[in-house]
Symmetry: C2
Subunit: 158 residues, 2 copies
Protein backbone atom coordinates (compact mmCIF):
# COMPACT_ATOMS: atom_id res chain seq x y z
CA UNK A 1 0.00 0.00 0.00
CA UNK A 2 1.21 3.51 -0.80
CA UNK A 3 2.33 5.33 2.29
CA UNK A 4 0.12 8.35 3.05
CA UNK A 5 1.82 11.74 2.84
CA UNK A 6 2.63 13.46 6.14
CA UNK A 7 0.17 16.25 5.22
CA UNK A 8 -2.63 13.80 4.67
CA UNK A 9 -1.85 11.98 7.88
CA UNK A 10 -1.92 15.31 9.72
CA UNK A 11 -5.25 16.23 8.14
CA UNK A 12 -6.65 12.85 9.03
CA UNK A 13 -5.48 13.20 12.57
CA UNK A 14 -6.94 16.66 12.96
CA UNK A 15 -10.21 15.91 11.28
CA UNK A 16 -10.96 12.41 12.33
CA UNK A 17 -9.12 11.37 15.44
CA UNK A 18 -9.60 14.56 17.45
CA UNK A 19 -11.28 13.14 20.49
CA UNK A 20 -10.37 16.14 22.61
CA UNK A 21 -8.55 15.87 25.89
CA UNK A 22 -11.30 17.73 27.74
CA UNK A 23 -13.61 14.82 27.02
CA UNK A 24 -11.34 12.37 28.78
CA UNK A 25 -13.14 12.65 32.08
CA UNK A 26 -16.33 11.31 30.60
CA UNK A 27 -16.39 7.78 29.29
CA UNK A 28 -19.53 7.18 27.25
CA UNK A 29 -20.55 3.56 26.92
CA UNK A 30 -19.86 1.74 23.66
CA UNK A 31 -23.62 1.65 22.98
CA UNK A 32 -23.75 5.46 23.14
CA UNK A 33 -20.73 5.87 20.87
CA UNK A 34 -22.23 3.49 18.33
CA UNK A 35 -25.62 5.20 18.48
CA UNK A 36 -23.94 8.55 17.87
CA UNK A 37 -21.91 7.32 14.92
CA UNK A 38 -24.90 5.58 13.38
CA UNK A 39 -26.84 8.83 13.82
CA UNK A 40 -24.04 10.90 12.32
CA UNK A 41 -23.91 8.74 9.19
CA UNK A 42 -27.72 8.81 8.89
CA UNK A 43 -27.53 12.59 8.87
CA UNK A 44 -24.80 12.39 6.24
CA UNK A 45 -27.02 10.06 4.19
CA UNK A 46 -30.00 12.41 4.51
CA UNK A 47 -27.94 15.32 3.27
CA UNK A 48 -26.21 13.35 0.52
CA UNK A 49 -29.66 12.39 -0.72
CA UNK A 50 -30.76 16.02 -0.73
CA UNK A 51 -27.68 17.07 -2.69
CA UNK A 52 -28.19 14.30 -5.23
CA UNK A 53 -31.85 15.23 -5.56
CA UNK A 54 -31.00 18.88 -6.14
CA UNK A 55 -28.31 18.06 -8.69
CA UNK A 56 -30.66 15.70 -10.52
CA UNK A 57 -33.73 17.89 -10.41
CA UNK A 58 -32.69 21.52 -10.82
CA UNK A 59 -29.69 22.77 -8.88
CA UNK A 60 -30.47 24.95 -5.84
CA UNK A 61 -27.26 26.45 -4.49
CA UNK A 62 -28.60 27.51 -1.09
CA UNK A 63 -30.12 24.15 -0.39
CA UNK A 64 -27.00 22.24 -1.46
CA UNK A 65 -24.86 24.55 0.66
CA UNK A 66 -26.97 23.80 3.75
CA UNK A 67 -26.49 20.08 3.18
CA UNK A 68 -22.80 20.35 2.33
CA UNK A 69 -22.26 22.36 5.52
CA UNK A 70 -23.81 19.57 7.58
CA UNK A 71 -21.70 16.86 5.96
CA UNK A 72 -18.48 18.87 6.29
CA UNK A 73 -19.19 19.79 9.91
CA UNK A 74 -19.76 16.15 10.78
CA UNK A 75 -16.74 14.97 8.77
CA UNK A 76 -14.57 17.49 10.65
CA UNK A 77 -16.11 16.84 14.07
CA UNK A 78 -13.66 14.23 15.31
CA UNK A 79 -15.66 11.17 14.30
CA UNK A 80 -12.70 8.99 15.21
CA UNK A 81 -13.62 9.35 18.87
CA UNK A 82 -16.81 7.39 18.14
CA UNK A 83 -14.73 4.39 17.06
CA UNK A 84 -13.00 3.90 20.39
CA UNK A 85 -11.84 0.52 21.63
CA UNK A 86 -14.81 -1.44 22.92
CA UNK A 87 -17.09 -0.44 20.04
CA UNK A 88 -16.13 -3.36 17.80
CA UNK A 89 -19.33 -5.32 18.28
CA UNK A 90 -21.90 -3.60 20.49
CA UNK A 91 -25.33 -2.33 19.51
CA UNK A 92 -26.41 1.28 19.00
CA UNK A 93 -29.69 1.78 17.16
CA UNK A 94 -28.83 -1.59 15.64
CA UNK A 95 -25.85 -3.97 15.68
CA UNK A 96 -22.78 -2.19 14.45
CA UNK A 97 -21.77 -2.97 10.89
CA UNK A 98 -18.12 -2.07 11.43
CA UNK A 99 -15.48 -4.56 10.31
CA UNK A 100 -12.69 -5.59 12.71
CA UNK A 101 -10.19 -4.05 10.28
CA UNK A 102 -11.20 -0.56 11.43
CA UNK A 103 -9.56 -1.36 14.75
CA UNK A 104 -6.46 -3.02 13.33
CA UNK A 105 -5.71 -0.98 10.20
CA UNK A 106 -6.24 2.29 12.02
CA UNK A 107 -3.86 4.27 9.80
CA UNK A 108 -5.91 3.50 6.68
CA UNK A 109 -9.17 4.08 8.54
CA UNK A 110 -7.97 7.50 9.72
CA UNK A 111 -6.66 8.28 6.23
CA UNK A 112 -10.09 7.64 4.72
CA UNK A 113 -11.66 9.73 7.46
CA UNK A 114 -9.29 12.52 6.50
CA UNK A 115 -10.29 12.23 2.84
CA UNK A 116 -13.96 12.40 3.83
CA UNK A 117 -13.22 15.64 5.71
CA UNK A 118 -11.11 17.04 2.86
CA UNK A 119 -13.60 16.37 0.06
CA UNK A 120 -16.64 17.56 2.03
CA UNK A 121 -14.83 20.77 3.01
CA UNK A 122 -13.94 21.23 -0.66
CA UNK A 123 -17.60 20.71 -1.61
CA UNK A 124 -18.59 23.58 0.68
CA UNK A 125 -15.92 25.74 -0.94
CA UNK A 126 -17.03 24.88 -4.47
CA UNK A 127 -20.73 25.45 -3.76
CA UNK A 128 -20.02 28.71 -1.90
CA UNK A 129 -17.98 29.99 -4.84
CA UNK A 130 -21.08 29.88 -7.04
CA UNK A 131 -19.71 27.20 -9.34
CA UNK A 132 -21.91 25.62 -12.01
CA UNK A 133 -23.92 22.53 -11.16
CA UNK A 134 -21.58 20.41 -13.30
CA UNK A 135 -18.60 21.46 -11.18
CA UNK A 136 -20.54 20.84 -7.99
CA UNK A 137 -21.57 17.44 -9.31
CA UNK A 138 -17.94 16.56 -10.00
CA UNK A 139 -16.88 17.47 -6.47
CA UNK A 140 -19.88 15.65 -5.00
CA UNK A 141 -18.74 12.58 -6.94
CA UNK A 142 -15.31 12.83 -5.32
CA UNK A 143 -16.96 13.03 -1.91
CA UNK A 144 -19.12 9.99 -2.62
CA UNK A 145 -16.02 8.02 -3.62
CA UNK A 146 -14.58 8.59 -0.15
CA UNK A 147 -17.80 7.20 1.36
CA UNK A 148 -17.63 4.14 -0.89
CA UNK A 149 -13.94 3.50 -0.21
CA UNK A 150 -14.52 3.45 3.51
CA UNK A 151 -17.67 1.31 3.25
CA UNK A 152 -15.87 -1.18 1.00
CA UNK A 153 -12.98 -1.60 3.43
CA UNK A 154 -14.55 -1.13 6.81
CA UNK A 155 -18.30 -1.74 6.74
CA UNK A 156 -20.18 -5.01 6.48
CA UNK A 157 -23.19 -4.94 4.21
CA UNK A 158 -26.37 -4.69 6.25
CA UNK B 1 -48.33 35.35 23.46
CA UNK B 2 -45.99 38.04 22.19
CA UNK B 3 -46.06 38.29 18.45
CA UNK B 4 -42.72 37.35 16.90
CA UNK B 5 -40.94 40.14 15.04
CA UNK B 6 -40.96 39.98 11.25
CA UNK B 7 -37.18 39.54 11.31
CA UNK B 8 -37.41 36.54 13.59
CA UNK B 9 -40.17 35.03 11.52
CA UNK B 10 -38.03 35.48 8.42
CA UNK B 11 -35.04 33.89 10.13
CA UNK B 12 -37.17 31.00 11.28
CA UNK B 13 -38.53 30.52 7.80
CA UNK B 14 -35.10 30.55 6.23
CA UNK B 15 -33.41 28.37 8.80
CA UNK B 16 -36.05 25.88 9.69
CA UNK B 17 -38.71 25.55 7.06
CA UNK B 18 -36.43 25.50 4.02
CA UNK B 19 -37.39 22.19 2.53
CA UNK B 20 -36.06 23.16 -0.88
CA UNK B 21 -38.12 23.04 -4.01
CA UNK B 22 -35.65 20.73 -5.73
CA UNK B 23 -36.52 18.06 -3.21
CA UNK B 24 -40.16 18.12 -4.16
CA UNK B 25 -39.82 15.27 -6.63
CA UNK B 26 -38.73 12.86 -3.94
CA UNK B 27 -41.15 11.93 -1.20
CA UNK B 28 -39.36 10.10 1.58
CA UNK B 29 -41.58 7.96 3.78
CA UNK B 30 -42.56 9.28 7.23
CA UNK B 31 -40.40 6.56 8.81
CA UNK B 32 -37.33 7.89 6.98
CA UNK B 33 -38.05 11.50 7.92
CA UNK B 34 -38.47 10.52 11.58
CA UNK B 35 -35.29 8.44 11.53
CA UNK B 36 -33.39 11.39 10.09
CA UNK B 37 -34.71 13.87 12.62
CA UNK B 38 -34.05 11.49 15.51
CA UNK B 39 -30.52 11.05 14.16
CA UNK B 40 -30.03 14.79 13.76
CA UNK B 41 -31.00 15.45 17.37
CA UNK B 42 -28.79 12.60 18.59
CA UNK B 43 -25.87 14.26 16.83
CA UNK B 44 -26.84 17.57 18.44
CA UNK B 45 -26.94 15.81 21.84
CA UNK B 46 -23.53 14.22 21.26
CA UNK B 47 -22.02 17.59 20.45
CA UNK B 48 -23.83 19.43 23.23
CA UNK B 49 -22.38 16.88 25.64
CA UNK B 50 -18.89 17.44 24.28
CA UNK B 51 -19.23 21.21 24.64
CA UNK B 52 -20.50 20.88 28.21
CA UNK B 53 -17.67 18.49 29.03
CA UNK B 54 -15.08 20.87 27.63
CA UNK B 55 -16.54 23.87 29.48
CA UNK B 56 -16.66 21.91 32.72
CA UNK B 57 -13.24 20.30 32.43
CA UNK B 58 -10.83 22.77 30.84
CA UNK B 59 -11.99 24.75 27.83
CA UNK B 60 -10.64 23.60 24.47
CA UNK B 61 -11.54 26.14 21.78
CA UNK B 62 -10.84 23.93 18.76
CA UNK B 63 -12.87 21.07 20.10
CA UNK B 64 -15.82 23.26 21.06
CA UNK B 65 -15.70 24.90 17.65
CA UNK B 66 -15.94 21.52 15.91
CA UNK B 67 -19.00 20.68 17.98
CA UNK B 68 -20.60 24.10 17.61
CA UNK B 69 -20.14 23.88 13.84
CA UNK B 70 -22.04 20.59 13.77
CA UNK B 71 -24.93 21.94 15.83
CA UNK B 72 -25.18 25.15 13.80
CA UNK B 73 -25.00 23.29 10.48
CA UNK B 74 -27.82 20.99 11.57
CA UNK B 75 -29.89 23.84 13.03
CA UNK B 76 -29.58 25.70 9.71
CA UNK B 77 -30.12 22.66 7.51
CA UNK B 78 -33.85 23.01 7.01
CA UNK B 79 -34.93 20.64 9.77
CA UNK B 80 -38.53 21.74 9.24
CA UNK B 81 -38.69 19.48 6.19
CA UNK B 82 -38.32 16.49 8.53
CA UNK B 83 -41.56 17.43 10.29
CA UNK B 84 -43.75 17.10 7.22
CA UNK B 85 -47.41 16.10 7.44
CA UNK B 86 -47.65 12.36 7.99
CA UNK B 87 -44.87 12.26 10.57
CA UNK B 88 -47.13 12.88 13.57
CA UNK B 89 -47.06 9.34 14.88
CA UNK B 90 -44.86 6.97 12.89
CA UNK B 91 -41.71 5.19 14.01
CA UNK B 92 -38.11 6.00 13.08
CA UNK B 93 -35.42 4.45 15.28
CA UNK B 94 -38.19 4.46 17.89
CA UNK B 95 -41.72 5.85 18.17
CA UNK B 96 -41.68 9.58 17.60
CA UNK B 97 -41.94 11.71 20.74
CA UNK B 98 -43.35 14.72 18.90
CA UNK B 99 -46.50 16.33 20.31
CA UNK B 100 -49.47 17.05 18.02
CA UNK B 101 -48.99 20.77 18.73
CA UNK B 102 -45.95 20.83 16.43
CA UNK B 103 -48.35 20.29 13.54
CA UNK B 104 -51.00 22.75 14.71
CA UNK B 105 -48.98 25.60 16.25
CA UNK B 106 -46.57 25.65 13.34
CA UNK B 107 -45.72 29.34 13.70
CA UNK B 108 -44.40 28.83 17.24
CA UNK B 109 -42.64 25.62 16.24
CA UNK B 110 -40.87 27.40 13.37
CA UNK B 111 -40.07 30.35 15.65
CA UNK B 112 -38.30 28.05 18.11
CA UNK B 113 -36.50 26.38 15.23
CA UNK B 114 -35.33 29.83 14.16
CA UNK B 115 -34.05 30.58 17.66
CA UNK B 116 -32.17 27.27 17.69
CA UNK B 117 -30.49 28.30 14.42
CA UNK B 118 -29.80 31.83 15.65
CA UNK B 119 -28.23 30.87 18.99
CA UNK B 120 -26.13 28.03 17.55
CA UNK B 121 -24.84 30.30 14.78
CA UNK B 122 -23.99 32.88 17.46
CA UNK B 123 -22.14 30.20 19.43
CA UNK B 124 -19.92 29.51 16.43
CA UNK B 125 -19.24 33.23 16.12
CA UNK B 126 -18.41 33.62 19.82
CA UNK B 127 -16.11 30.59 19.91
CA UNK B 128 -14.39 31.60 16.65
CA UNK B 129 -13.73 35.08 18.04
CA UNK B 130 -11.55 33.57 20.75
CA UNK B 131 -13.83 34.65 23.60
CA UNK B 132 -13.18 33.50 27.15
CA UNK B 133 -14.75 30.29 28.38
CA UNK B 134 -17.18 32.27 30.56
CA UNK B 135 -18.52 34.09 27.50
CA UNK B 136 -18.78 30.83 25.57
CA UNK B 137 -20.57 29.27 28.52
CA UNK B 138 -23.08 32.11 28.57
CA UNK B 139 -23.85 31.69 24.88
CA UNK B 140 -24.03 27.91 25.24
CA UNK B 141 -26.60 28.50 28.00
CA UNK B 142 -28.70 30.57 25.59
CA UNK B 143 -28.52 27.76 23.06
CA UNK B 144 -29.57 25.18 25.61
CA UNK B 145 -32.57 27.31 26.55
CA UNK B 146 -33.83 27.09 22.98
CA UNK B 147 -33.55 23.29 23.16
CA UNK B 148 -35.49 23.22 26.43
CA UNK B 149 -38.19 25.60 25.19
CA UNK B 150 -38.89 23.41 22.20
CA UNK B 151 -38.79 20.18 24.21
CA UNK B 152 -41.18 21.64 26.80
CA UNK B 153 -43.72 22.66 24.18
CA UNK B 154 -43.38 20.05 21.49
CA UNK B 155 -41.78 16.85 22.79
CA UNK B 156 -43.28 14.17 24.99
CA UNK B 157 -40.98 12.84 27.69
CA UNK B 158 -39.57 9.48 26.66
Amino acid sequence: MKKPSPTLVLAATLAFAAAGSACAQQAPKPEALIKWRQSAFQVVAWNSGRIKSSLDGGYNKDQVLRSANVIAAIANSGLGSLFAAGTESAKGWHDTTIKPEAFTNTARFAELGGEFAKESTELVRVVSSGADATVVKDQFGKLQKTCKSCHDDFRNAN
